[in-house]
């Protein structure tokens, strides 16, 4: 039997906003190669959980282990790519080119800068080609469409060769066609490059065909397991009660 490699382990994690609980006793392990969708109703703690995983929030109790190390001791942040909710809602007047956005990630710490010093331009060209934006390097990011901006942010995250990518509702405000292309890209990164992906989404339908695992959250972890089993489990009924859907949107 193949031993699965742990990337992130969440142990008995709870979190409160002031006195109201947002997460209660969450246990969850993410393995290399997983494409995990974190789903649940509004206010279920999805974003909070993701922020705890990347160290932006500190849990009230429990612990987070990244690549076998407690998060407090973890330093290899270039192994983690993160795209926050509404990431494309940046200041529209911010003067920055696509290349500069990506270069900022290649120089995010002295360690990363040292690692990629020799080949920065080459890396930028390469990563832009991966996300299908080869020609757009010198363009200001605010002149691109929402879908293209999302791809630039993926490129920024990918350029340091992360081993896991965590995304929070990444396609909010992006048209349906661009959303599908975006998730196709994530699917191919997961399958072809064995990139581990954690995706917080309220629209399970559109990512349904790409994910391998599902975590259904409503302050507590209602379900965590294989995607196929989720679709036939009782947890899905609770999920559907919230007006969510499991099939992809129809489009004309």
């Amino acid at each position: 039997m193949i031993e699965l490699e742990e990337i992130i382990r969440i142990e008995k994690v709870s979190f409160n906003y002031d006195s109201s609980p947002a997460l209660e006793n969450i246990n969850l392990t993410i393995y290399r190669g997983d494409f995990l969708a974190v789903i649940g109703p509004n206010g279920s703690g999805k974003t909070t959980l993701l922020k705890i995983m990347v160290g932006l929030l500190k849990p009230a109790s429990g612990q987070v282990v990244l690549f076998g190390q407690e998060i407090e001791k973890f330093r290899d942040w270039h192994k983690i790519g993160y795209i926050q909710q509404k990431a494309t809602n940046f200041d529209p007047n911010f003067p920055i080119s696509v290349e500069e956005v990506i270069a900022s990630s290649l120089n995010s710490s002295p360690e990363v800068r040292k690692k990629f010093r020799a080949s920065q331009k080459q890396k930028i060209i390469q990563v832009l080609s991966t996300v299908g934006l080869e020609q757009l390097g010198p363009r200001p990011i605010n002149s691109l469409s929402g879908g293209q901006q999302q791809r630039v942010l993926i490129a920024r995250a990918l350029v340091t060769q992360p081993e896991i990518l965590l995304l929070d509702e990444p396609t909010t405000g992006v048209d349906l066609k661009a959303q599908e292309e975006f998730y196709d890209l994530l699917g191919s990164l997961n399958k072809q490059h064995n990139l581990t992906i954690v995706l917080v989404t309220h629209d399970f339908g559109i990512v349904n065909m790409h994910v391998t695992k599902v975590a259904c959250l409503n302050q507590k972890l209602i379900y965590h397991g294989q995607h196929e089993e989720f679709c036939s489990s009782s947890a899905v009924q609770e999920f559907l009660k919230g007006g969510h859907h499991l099939v992809s949107h129809q489009h004309w």
């Binding site: 932006l56 920055i96 270069a103 990630s105 995010s108 920024r156």
Partner: protein
Amino acid sequence: MTELLASGIFQRAVMAGLFLALSCGLLGVFLVLRKEAMIGHGLSHVAFAGLALGFVLNLLPMAVSLALCLLGALLILEIRERGSLYGDTALGIISSAGLALGILLISLKRGFGLELMSFLFGDILAVSPVEVWFAIFLAIVVVISLSFNYHQLIFMTFDREAAMVSGVRVKKLDRMMVLLTAMTIVLGLKLVGILLVSALLIIPASAALQVSKNFKQTMLASTLFSFVAIISGIYLSYLLDAPAAAMIVFVSLLIFLGTLLGKRKK
């Protein structure tokens, strides 16, 4: 004109002005994009208290002002981090405290009001050789600090959360930025005065933002606009026998209006 160019006073004013422009032009871009444009204004009030304290204690006013301004800058960050305050509230609190302290100190010891007043409006033509060296030193510190952390500063200004996750030491860089700003403000006090020093941090950078397509261009344009404003301002003040600080700010404003009109026409 030849006489003017040959005079030591003018040469010192231009030298100090150019190096101040370099610091302001580069720092200003980050401050404006970080939505901290008013930090210069707030810190100049703290610097005012420092000057007054220096006069009261018979110590070098600029040195005391620098010390107090650095302390005020760190306090602003500390209050902002711990106090759960909205927007510029921490800045408003420290700025008012600085002004109140300055006024109190003036009332305690009479006789230096006039000298202190000269710092309100600045006097670039009275810059001493030591102050020129301070301007050069400051510009070197600013250029080295910003160059070494250039990409990290861009990253955290553009997307703070992602930068934090990527290992950018945002709190350390926040401190570096306020400390550099505090140093620039203290130098600016002598050159353009407490009341106008923040204009040099805000206006050239805002003008650069109107005409630039990427970050590098913005930094270059902001520095260039600062240079033009300072040199033209000093020259106009000589020509019109008008206060240099006001002339420098008016030229900056004209550049800003020009870039704004240029942008609208596009």
